[in-house]
Symmetry: C2
Subunit: 322 residues, 2 copies
């Protein structure tokens, strides 16, 4: 049996697949743009064609999959947001049939990013950490007692739906005032446009959802760095919302560390300074003051690394029996 | 060796001690009022005198302790709020010296209540639960993956400091807008008084802190039940704050169940109806909709039962090496 693990990372923008060594090093990776508006089998063929481009050994240690939610878990019938072609698609089952005899494990993509940071990135050694991604959506994963926490249905870590303002704007989830409603890239850019922001490059309402919103969020961050007052206010708004939600998570879960990745985190101090300010205002108990918030350390392979960890480091990151 | 466990429950109002059978049944219990303003050794002598009233077998399975926080954990040097005489008092160490050769384990009193509900009460069988107590303070404990979650320093479960309104009233922790700032009994009663509430029995500012605030909260609940509009508004205010904080916890930790105990929970539907309303508004994702919020099932012995569980069911409720 090979000691390589096949890792698969399924997102609304791209599909990625790679071979990962036992120490988390990605030794080969391939990527392809997610076909937009494709049906279920077209999406599946896109994935299998991608896998065919890898030199997958006949014997693998296993297969780890990260995929956008929601999904049934641990069964892995996926219905990713913004990927209408897959609704209840048995992604884990299909890959298990293709790679028989080895563990085939799946988790939410944001959870895989958190696992990656804990296993090989900025969270190494933390006993109690939240790994966050702030991009088109705001997601995360919880590590407590040095182990991935799944929650009752594999959905623990949804920091994006911690309520930061009960009177706040509507959220895609159907609620309102969620962190995600305020801090997701497209929401933030829309808020800035409504305040009169005129981006250096023309940005239209439709563009907000281009490239998972990160293009516009990056533009907003760039304008903030250049001193644009509305862009700065947008970063402060997102930063404070992040700080409040993180404070709630720290107080509830007694966290050592929070890692923040995703497009918006590229804004650096413009985002992290208001974040820290709000966080410190709302973490006044002795134990909570120790928490550190740091940028995620891993780059574009993070999703693959985290997916592989479900297999390679299953003692810490995998609980179900399958 | 006896199969009885000695359980100790230390609060600002009373000290309790009892002998607990392996199935969680309390077979003997003694209580004494907490001496107010007492120094460290007076408090200790009060406890040992209480223990002397129990027929403690010479051999025990162990000793479990619940105590108000904060404390160093798992070492158990306690500095309970509202018990100034104990500041860094080595409660666990003193009891370990008195009962050598058996495990002596300590946890926050709110965590013990959550453990009790999970072990023997309304939370039996839940894989992902938050056990809450709403009284003078608002506290809790988290059970995830069927196990007690400690967090990095034993402080996980502080639901009272989840932020429900970033512009909300100041909290005893130094922050503002925490659930506890709004929903704790004395805070709620103070709010009602400020709105013009005149309780059936004369209540003064000083009375708010009598009996851990529960007397006044019960009076408020009784007036609400009788239709007093300000008392009803106070219950709605607390209920909505509870619902928002619980929603954040459900979304973050993917909970099946929340149990609510403590004085204010006696208000029944007057509290639980607005709680449910706010909770459902803010738990719109598919997985979150399943959560149930129920009253705690155990009575005045719950603290003893939970403390004993740290020893008797340590496989689920005790992680540290000591």
């Amino acid at each position: 049996m090979s000691d390589l693990t096949l890792a698969v990372d399924i997102g609304g923008t791209k599909f990625a697949a790679g071979l990962v060594e036992p120490d988390g090093q990605v030794v080969a990776a391939e990527r392809v743009a997610t076909p937009q508006g494709a049906d279920d089998e077209t999406l599946w063929r896109t994935l299998t064609a991608l896998l065919d481009r890898l030199d997958v050994p006949t014997a693998l240690a296993g297969v780890g999959i990260g995929c956008g939610g929601p999904m049934t878990w641990p069964e892995g019938e996926v219905s990713p947001l913004n990927m209408g072609g897959w609704s209840g698609f048995p992604l884990r089952g299909r890959l298990a049939a293709r790679f028989p005899g080895v563990p085939v494990r799946i988790h939410n993509d944001a959870i895989c990013l958190a696992v990656a940071e804990h296993w090989c990135g900025a969270g190494r050694g933390s006993a109690a950490m939240l790994g966050m991604v702030v991009s088109t959506g705001v997601g995360g994963g919880l590590i407590l007692g040095g182990r991935l926490i799944d929650g009752g249905t594999g959905n623990a870590g949804h920091i994006g739906h911690v309520v930061v303002d009960p009177e706040g704007p509507p959220c895609g989830c159907g609620g309102n005032g969620c962190l995600e409603a305020i801090a997701r890239g497209p929401g933030l850019a829309a808020w800035a446009l409504a305040q009169g922001w005129s981006p250096g490059d023309a940005v239209t309402e439709g563009d907000l959802y281009r490239e998972e919103g990160t293009a516009t969020a990056r533009r907003l961050a760039a304008d903030a760095a250049a001193g644009d007052p509305i862009a700065l206010a947008a970063m402060a708004r997102a930063g404070r919302a992040l700080g409040v939600a993180i404070a709630s998570a720290v107080n509830l879960c007694d966290l050592d560390l929070v890692t923040v990745g995703g497009g918006l985190s590229q804004a650096g101090d413009l985002l992290f300074r208001p974040l820290e300010e709000a966080l410190r205002e709302h973490t006044r108990m002795g134990f909570a003051g120790r928490v550190r918030v740091v940028p995620a350390a891993l780059g574009q392979d993070a999703g693959l690394v985290g997916a592989a960890a479900l297999v390679i480091a299953g003692d810490r990151y995998w609980s179900p029996g399958i």
